[in-house]
Symmetry: C2
Subunit: 459 residues, 2 copies
């Protein structure tokens, strides 16, 4: 286990976060860190990832630990390293050393947690060993797949309130993640001319992340089949006419995520059809970022993206009609079937372990409209929120060949004209945007996104 | 999900494997593939890894699937992809297409499995969603942490018997894993002169693995603190006098593992003390491989390594006494505290999900001797077994500063002389060795291991 360099500022940050929590709830909270998830056998686990809620209030990626928060106090529960762990894992910091690093008021072994559980709320951890322990100690079912209830729900709502906007310590980490993510994308573009398959570009990108001693914040998408939204295949050959879509992000050791997508031509030169569509997506991207401002509804930003895309496709002769009307009937969603973005923080879809509790303002629910159902964030923006802006254009066979959709939009789409854009399977442009009091700041602005700048980075 | 290129030879291989199983058990077996393990939230899972037992008999890394094996027949249970999965994950092969690829006699949706469970044995899968399903369908506790009982134990023993030795199809995959593992190590050595921290060397090594569209078969060890046996930290600066120990292996898409360790000087030049110890470890490595032959006890190979290390340390003046006697009193284990190796196959410690069922011949148990307790394999060798040979020398503070051990070995170790070797914290040399009818074949022989060859690869 790694105890990274910390400072009194960590202790200070954690104290402020606890105080915020104490202002919102009047009962104790216990947050577990989680334990290793086995891969093919227990001694061969996946790389450990501490629970985001724990990371937020404990500041360190400890495993098999818990913290208890009450009225601004921090109690740490973790076992001291065993003698055999020193052989296999090296000299580990003691409980006392960890307690000091994070400013814990009290520290004890995990076994003591049992006598501190009364009236405590918690949030379910993803790994079975931990949710089993949570269930046993709290004497009620704590399951990651079940929505929280009672005081657990109150705790979840309080944590959502706090984590929805980022403090300076969080932003420092998020900027680090953004910087390495930007570097990874530049490396991917630079590696493309020499690469024969998608996997080689992925290697160049993840290599940058690994070299910075970070990890990917989600399974990378690096594909010439960008029309497959969550494509996790990397075996396709790169052909001169292909577009390569890369959705890759770095995560810092403290768990803070970057999330960026760029789409570039394998040959280093967009075809005219590719460039036309690229510029439509970029126009939507830029319009959304320009609109980001405290008080603006994120749902309206999604609709703005849809409208700009519809406008662009009308201009290109692919759609026919008035852009506003086209959005009303979800025609844009034929080509842009997902949401404009999501919260970003300790999780790449921040707080999504709590379902839509963070993404959707209380009282709001997901729409069942074709063009809105995948929207992950539906709240008014506030300074300190970090969101992604990621419009796209895709020719998804499952959508465009759907007989119902084809007949519904028969006279809306100029299918003949569309066929001229066959070399555009999928384009997405995604940046990480902080809501500021003045408007917004693009944390990933160091990565160019104009068609010509992207071409330059490939060549 | 990826359906890699297959051929009739896959169908043939799987049929032979089923037939072997049918020769050993007279009841049906159901093997689940497993499902995604969530990382920080369910929609952000760790990369999927199918269960090794499933991979062995189904041949493809399908998720959320099960096969039923009875009397040489293969029944496949998997759901057809949903329409929304086509949007997010692309066009997936249908159940029928998969069934055809693997030569299934019957294929149906997962819901049908329920009516096929009677008298069926199984093996617990690591992820909670799957072992919960196994437990419900079979109406008995199937837990990865509980040793199998009854027909489940009979099934486990039969599978151990079959998987202990590798068929040609397995060896083809294992050679691929070995080749990419070798290439990764060469890249790590070549990247060292330009690298400032361990993480950069790790990036070069894992980059090779990712570029070949493979994954690491375990969490990489790339460290200047080789004395920490399972070190998963990568932040240390590389200093000119350091040795870098890299234990990194590639795993093919079908799940077959490589597992190699090399130790090289950061400067490209071993110091004379480092070279002396390196050559002791290499002598043990070579002696063990020379001894590998059908019928030889793997435990004797471990003792041979211990003896050669003891001899070398006596020659260097670090230990005092007769090497055989030193091994009898576990003096070698002060510096070589782990076993000489383990089975290698679909798992990097092959079949270790079944505890010592595969590693230890029936009726044998782990020793409680300091120098033998970590031995993972204790069986006579047979042609077709693949094992690692990985002797090492480490100065582990937790061992060498232990007051009990220090007093026990007070007059055995020349502590003064030992202090001259302070620049040797940890050295391990590991190769993957196939037992053949004639003796052995080193699958990773393309990676040099002599001190001078290693120096050449760094420079």
């Amino acid at each position: 286990m790694l105890i990274p360099q910390t400072s009194t500022s960590l202790i200070h940050t954690l104290r402020l976060r606890r105080q915020e929590l104490a202002n919102l709830i009047d009962f104790p909270a216990i947050l577990w860190s989680g334990s290793n998830s086995p891969r093919n056998f227990p001694a061969n686990p996946f790389p450990f990832r501490a629970s985001s809620h724990f990371l937020y209030f404990a500041g360190l990626p400890l495993s098999n630990a818990a913290i208890r928060l009450e009225a601004g106090k921090l109690e740490l529960f973790i076992d001291d390293p065993s003698p055999s762990s020193a052989l296999w894992h090296g000299e580990m910091p003691t409980r006392e050393e960890i307690a000091q690093k994070i400013g814990a008021d009290v520290a004890g072994p995990m076994a003591e947690l049992e006598s501190w559980v009364e009236d405590a709320a918690t949030i379910a951890i993803q790994d079975a060993a931990t949710w089993t322990q949570q269930t046993q100690l709290l004497n009620r079912w704590i399951l990651p797949q079940s929505p929280p209830e009672g005081i657990d729900l109150e705790l979840a709502k309080a944590i959502v309130t706090i984590r929805l906007t980022h403090d300076q310590a969080a932003l420092t980490e998020l900027r680090k993640a953004a910087a390495v993510t930007v570097e990874a994308h530049k490396a991917g573009m630079a590696a493309t001319p020499q690469a024969k398959v998608e996997a080689e570009v992925r290697a160049a990108m993840e290599g940058v992340i690994i070299a910075h001693n970070m990890t990917t914040s989600y399974n990378s998408i690096v594909t010439v089949h960008g029309e497959v939204l969550h494509n996790e295949q990397y075996h396709h050959l790169l052909q001169p006419g292909d577009l390569l879509l890369a959705d890759v992000g770095a995560e810092t050791q403290m768990g803070w995520a970057g999330d960026v997508t760029r789409t570039w031509p394998v040959s280093g030169k967009f075809s005219s059809t590719q460039r036309d569509i690229y510029n439509v997506v970029l126009a939507a991207h830029d319009a959304c970022i320009a609109k980001i401002h405290p008080g603006v509804e994120y749902g309206d930003i999604h609709l703005l993206a849809a409208t700009v895309i519809a406008e662009g496709l009308v201009e290109l002769g692919i759609l026919q009609g008035n852009p506003q009307d086209l959005v009303e009937i979800d025609a844009h969603a034929l080509f842009f079937p997902h949401g404009i973005g999501h919260l970003l923080g300790l999780d790449v879809h921040d707080l999504e372990d709590l379902g839509d509790l963070a993404g959707y303002e209380e009282g709001r629910e997901r729409s069942d409209r074709f063009g809105l159902g995948y929207l992950r964030l539906n709240r008014p923006l506030r300074p300190g929120m970090l969101v992604t802006i990621e419009p796209g254009f895709y020719q998804v066979p499952a959508i465009l060949n759907d007989p119902n959709l084809r007949s519904k939009y028969q006279n809306i789409v100029n299918w003949q004209r569309l066929s001229e854009f066959a070399d555009v399977r999928g384009i997405r442009i995604e940046d990480d945007v902080l809501v500021t009091t003045e408007g917004s700041e693009v944390l990933t602005a160091a990565l160019p996104n104009s068609a010509s700048a992207v071409e330059d980075l490939v060549n």
